[in-house]
């Protein structure tokens, strides 16, 4: 009974555990067609080509006069060019009339230029004299204040790459050229299964010895925000039959299964057995060189990743951030993007062991126009250490700690 299994973990860094997983698993691409207006936040599965030049006609960028630029050469305040104004461009309709040399036409921002006009003189650079004559007070270069045909985007241009997550402005760009539907990646179905005899659903009143299951909900929130579609599998009792039944029942309808092991060692062993029964090749790695999160299980069963997370809610959440979120991005075939952080000054020393990554919850305090990052103290299994934190500090594998006063990059969460 002096099991020292935990001590015998052959731990791997997070990055190499993920590499191992990717060697055993290639996600399939499941796509669907969506109305572009409903596609905010979705990932493109095909690169749309523009079906048109945008704009499709030469538009003015200013309120002013459409002119032939050559008619304004050398114009100045003291020696203006005199042009005859022959009308006003109507917004929203085709400009069919034209201007001759010596003529101008009043045009508004967005108006369509007459065929022979090649520039727009801002209204502020003109002076009306009489009813139909204007003075142009400075020369216009050809093309000045004009958006050319196709200047925004050209016919057949690939406008966004595969793997791009659509933002508000992208939806606008697509609609601007009349792309009304897009091929996007289906949200991966992420099964979440909690286990542990001590767990009850939050609606129940815990008796002594019991606690409410929260991993089901913290992980659902995190993984849903990453783009997953959550399938809640419930709470497995610490016995093989019930645990395996819950896992097997839903496994076929998931693209990825996350199991939070009960907190006791025996449950962790049970989790391993259940995962082994879900399919080949099974467990690839047991143990990560990360704190918290050491007893994490990485597996592939029947071409699907299965991740066994530690049962304590803090470890489960932080390992899910590092392991499960990247898997969802892989399932979404989403291109990587730069990570934004908040720079802060560290308030106190943080020790760390070389050969292990550390994830430290920190509280950010506004000070002198910048921020101070204060580690949130408390045992690493207390959910309120995450509730009270504004972000995470990551200490990489081969760093032995951070000193008070150091400038650090905090990832908000």
């Amino acid at each position: 009974m002096t099991g020292t299994k935990a001590a015998f973990f052959n731990v791997q860094p997070v990055a190499s555990a993920l590499d191992t997983l990717f060697q055993h698993w290639t996600p399939e691409l499941r796509t669907e067609k969506l109305d572009t207006r409903q596609a905010l936040g979705r990932v493109l599965a095909a690169a749309p080509l523009s079906p048109m030049h945008l704009p499709s006609f030469r538009r003015s960028t200013m309120d002013g006069y459409a002119v032939r630029a050559a008619d304004t050469y050398g114009a100045s305040q003291s020696l203006p060019a005199y042009l005859t104004c022959v009308g006003t461009i109507t917004m929203g309709t085709e400009t069919t009339g034209d201007i001759q040399s010596g003529q101008a036409v009043l045009i508004h921002t967005g108006g369509m230029l007459p065929i022979s006009a090649d520039a727009v003189v801002m209204i502020e650079r003109t002076q009306a004299i009489g009813e139909n004559e204007i003075e142009v007070l400075s020369p216009a270069a050809p093309g000045e204040n004009v958006v050319q045909i196709g200047e925004d985007v050209t016919l057949n241009e690939a406008i966004l790459p595969v793997g791009h997550r659509l933002r508000a402005q992208d939806i606008g760009g697509l609609l601007a050229v009349g792309i009304l539907s897009v091929e996007v990646v289906k949200p991966p179905r992420v099964g979440i299964l909690s286990s542990g005899d001590e767990l009850i659903v939050p609606d129940e009143q815990p008796s002594p010895g019991q606690i409410r299951d929260i991993n089901t909900y913290t992980l659902a929130g995190l993984l849903q925000e990453a783009g997953g579609k959550i399938v809640s599998l419930g709470i497995a009792r610490d016995e093989m039959e019930h645990f395996l039944m819950l896992a097997q029942n839903s496994f076929p309808s998931c693209d990825l299964l996350v199991i939070t092991a009960g907190s006791s060692m025996s449950t962790r062993d049970l989790t391993c057995e259940v995962i082994t029964k879900l399919g080949k090749p099974g467990i690839l790695q047991h143990g990560l060189a990360v704190k918290p999160g050491k007893p994490t299980i990485i597996a592939v069963c029947n071409d699907k990743p299965v991740i066994g997370l530690p049962g304590n809610p803090v470890s489960a959440f932080l390992v899910a951030l590092q392991i499960v979120v990247p898997l969802i991005k892989r399932l979404l075939h989403e291109a990587s993007r730069p990570a934004a952080t908040v720079r802060a000054t560290l308030a106190s020393n943080i020790p760390s062991t070389a050969g292990r990554e550390d994830m430290i919850p920190v509280h950010l305090i506004s000070q002198n126009g910048g921020f101070v990052a204060e580690p949130v103290f408390g045992k690493s299994n207390l959910i309120y250490t995450l509730v009270k934190a504004d972000g995470l500090l990551h200490i990489p594998l081969n760093q032995t700690g951070l000193k008070a006063g150091a400038t650090v990059e905090v990832t908000l969460f």
Copy 2:
């Protein structure tokens, strides 16, 4: 007809325009009760108090033996303490049995300590000898490897402040103490009205002189992500009756109205007239010291903010980011949070005029483990300058520009 109205704008910096608005408007607090499990991303309208101590019993943080710490004083590898193991704690049930001096009980992570035990010795620091006896190889301090009652959160503790936007871990923290519903702020209803005779809905094929309305959708995406509930009012023609009808019909059911003016000067004047008719005090500010976005209108009508954005999609989007998103946060009574950015090296000089803020779309290129920020060139009214950009560079009011090679903070968007 040589109107130079635009040049006469009495422009104000964004911050002082917002100040003026806040002097004339105090948002009402509209709340609703929600199932905690459905409240991800919502803003708390009341500060929940914990109805219990968490944990409600003393839990072990390790697999090991629950002991009386005093029994292990002075224990070492060469001179272990000998204890009698009197059983195993069952997970999920109340521990009713107790230990006497000289006794220990096997306990798993999360198990409930017997009343007289005050520490847990990790299993790795013990050695089984015979069936019921163990050697303890190092001393345990009182409280070691034990989570005390209320150590995560205590009874009646205010666990999250009003104005806090709920994250995945917060949902977990609330559910952990059995808070099954929360009082949150109702999403503010944001009316979006486009105007301009040249605009058609994206489903239509534009004739020469026409363009598709995209502001309705880019703003909807942006403002929905900020927490607004979008009410689309459609496209107003450039004539008073239609424009005013669309605005007035929906104004009573909105908490905030955003109008994108048509691009021509006459439409901008029309927008001013419509806003003036929506209620008192009306227009507070016309003109912002920001590029793009100068012709923005800030108004309060009948105790609701009305923002007139420039018609060009880039200006409309960038001003909405600076003006409308903060109004939505105000309507949500949301506490401000640190802003995360990506640090990058600027690829080229950017000129800017003092007394004006600039918003420069930039593309981020990964280079030498860092990023280079390349301004996206193109006329400022081309939507693809935003589609091709990864983020924004903000040049503050009194800076005259940035030099190539400077370290800059890019806000992703």
